[in-house]
């Protein structure tokens, strides 16, 4: 009895993990999440309400950053450019990915090779080398203009004309449709063949079959791709940073580029944090709208 009473009682931490063994297994992830995700997330929210400058410190707290965001013409222009970029890129990318996925869904010879070939840009697309190559393709005496001139057409100032520069940046992202395509391909394979057979017997044309059978049945994947591509597009950085540096005349200064410049070139961390939170709020609102709208257009097979 004495031995038992003299034994040290187990520590609180030990007892906690003893009763919640799951926490022990996710402990490494949990520490990483707290240090690298939650802490920056909360601290950036606090910074966003201050004029925190890396080398001048903080002198003021308040809503001034948020006020400035909506009053500063350059920031508002950048926001509008980001919206334009997103609304060009996302629909084009989804349409293109679906189109190619439908072609690759046919049983043709060497289809696996084509699937790989179309997926490769997704792996390479974000790299610096591709962005540099893109710039070389679209410069005044680049490959694209040289080809246009072969056909007797006048070359276009792709990089220096504010009207076209954003399109060039968007095209780079659209070209990386591989991951969306693979998901569409998987979804298309899941559409039961007997539905097409029945529709063919009833005399439905191919376009009718696409809009009445294929598209409704793959809407969950369309929805998933829409949300993920939307988030990615709003955060685009590499393309404009390497190809145009945000120019010409700020025509490709996407919001994330401006956040980077404010944070690491001007050292205005308070302002940069506020801009990041505005971007986060916009993406969140659009995602919520997408989630709410899905009950009107997304078909889940397990629903009654």
């Amino acid at each position: 009895m004495n031995n038992v009473s003299n034994r040290r009682s187990p520590g609180k931490l030990y007892m906690f993990f003893r009763h919640n063994l799951g926490f022990l297994f996710i402990l490494v992830w949990l520490i990483g999440f707290l240090v690298f995700r939650l802490y920056p997330f909360i601290s950036s929210l606090i910074y966003s309400f201050s004029d925190f400058h890396l080398f001048n410190g903080t002198t003021e707290y308040g809503l001034m950053n948020y006020k400035e965001i909506f009053e500063d013409d350059k920031i508002m222009k950048s926001l509008s450019v980001t919206f334009k970029y997103t609304f060009i890129t996302v629909p084009l990318k989804l349409a293109f990915a679906l189109f190619i996925a439908m072609i690759l869904n046919y049983k043709v010879k060497g289809v696996n090779l084509f699937r790989t070939a179309y997926y490769i840009p997704s792996i390479l697309g974000g790299s610096v080398a591709i962005a540099v190559l893109w710039k070389a393709l679209f410069r005044d005496d680049g490959l694209i203009n040289s080809m246009l001139r072969i056909f007797g057409l006048e070359g276009i100032n792709w990089l220096s004309d504010p009207k076209y520069a954003l399109f060039i940046i968007s095209l780079l992202r659209v070209w990386q449709f591989g991951s969306a395509m693979v998901l569409f391909l998987a979804a298309l394979k899941g559409v039961p063949a007997d539905l097409y057979e029945a529709a063919t017997i009833d005399g439905a044309s191919k376009p009718r079959q696409f809009f009445s059978i294929t598209l409704p049945l793959i809407t969950p994947v369309v929805f998933y791709n829409l949300v993920t591509q939307l988030c990615q597009a709003f955060q685009e950085f590499n393309g404009p940073y390497i190809i145009t540096q945000g120019g010409p005349r700020n025509a490709t200064t996407l919001f994330s580029l401006l956040i980077y410049k404010r944070a690491f070139q001007m050292n205005e961390m308070g302002m940069a944090s506020a801009m990041a939170w505005v971007l986060f709020t916009i993406v969140t609102i659009l995602s919520i709208i997408a989630f709410i709208s899905q009950k009107y257009w997304v078909y889940y097979g397990d629903e009654k």
């Binding site: 679209f138 005044d140 005496d141 220096s160 010409p248 690491f264």
Partner: protein, 455 residues
Amino acid sequence: MIKIKKIMAAVLSIALVGAFTSCSGDEGASSESKSGNTSVSDSENKGGEKEENSGEDVTIKISWWGGDARHEATQNAINAFMEENENINVEVQFGAWDGWEDAMSTSLYAGTAPDINQINWNWISNYSADGSKFLDMNTMSEHFDLSNYSEEALNQCVVADELQAIPVAMTGRIFYWNKTAFENAGISVPTSLEELYAAGQTFKEVLGDDYYPLALGEYDRTILFIYYLESVYGKAWVEDGKLNYTAEEIATGLEFMNELEDKHVIPSIPTIIGDGAASLDKNPKWMEGKYAGIFEWDSSATKFASALNEGQEFVVGDYFKDFGKHQGGFTKVSLAFAISENTKHPEECAKLLEFLLNSEEGTAIMAAERGIPLSKSALKTCTDGGLLNEVVAEANSKVLEWAKFPLDTQFENSKLKGNPDGVYYDVFGGLSYDEYSVEKAAEILVEGVTEVLEG
């Protein structure tokens, strides 16, 4: 079919192994050169000898930016230093300029910057206005010979009453010409504004529409514009922390820039952007001689000269006396070396700097890779040893002889110099794109510069 699959699998496996081995080979090479592992292993090899040393073994780290030639010279000099000082192990961190300041400013704030850093002159006032980031070099005078530098040069690095860095060289902008391109147009390189205007027309008529005697990006235009204004009005751009020019005076300078474009002297900004080159020295039109002149830092001569295609002669130009009644143009410290305030080994750092910047052995290896040295002993070593690049030396002496105006530390503030949203880029880009009138551009420039100066 199975056989084909097996062959395919074998080929892919070999390719995969090849890819991995080539990747790891590259990685080894880059880590060796990037992190200075060469130097670490050098000192490790001498482990036996180290014990004989009376000094305590220390490791210090030095950082710099630049091109390959500078990297090689500095690494060689550091290796020579480590051979002489076996108890001091030097780690290195270096790279290209692009994005360098972004990374360094963050590490300076976080207190994780290397012990010694190559810095831009304005970093002192931008990042250490209170003297909290860089060590006062006056406290290291026992280990670093300050008498090698003129008081005037050292004063450029005094902020908060502390000598926060050692200036390496002075620099200023000057014209450089591709003499061969001018000869192709049947004229000699211009020595006055009048000749430059005439060259614009000659280039267009003789060589073609896409040939220009001079090429200037937005920031180059800003500096030439200030050189012009200082020549006309005889006063510094900024004095006592205030903009020294009225909007009307500024407008005359902007009109001058418009005239250069109108008279086919310089290509428009859209043309230069359309070239798709990261900088003028990487622009094929400069390499081929379609752009035949630049207005650049004297220390950049080698970079631009070596970019030219073979058979083209690169020469240093003269300042134009017909810009105005005064001698316009400014000089600044091209770069400096500073010791981090929080280093644990300040004496060893000072010793390394003394070797790199003042000692005969060190400066003979470093040569003029960072411009014509301000250190008297380094200059003597380079001159006696014939280590100075003739073009750079000629340009530097012309700059120091001509350009007398000072430069305000806020001139290179990122709100002004940032590309493409800085004020300079906005103003000169807007003018070239015909988005702004001269009056509007002058108003934006006055407003932007004043805002930065007032903090």
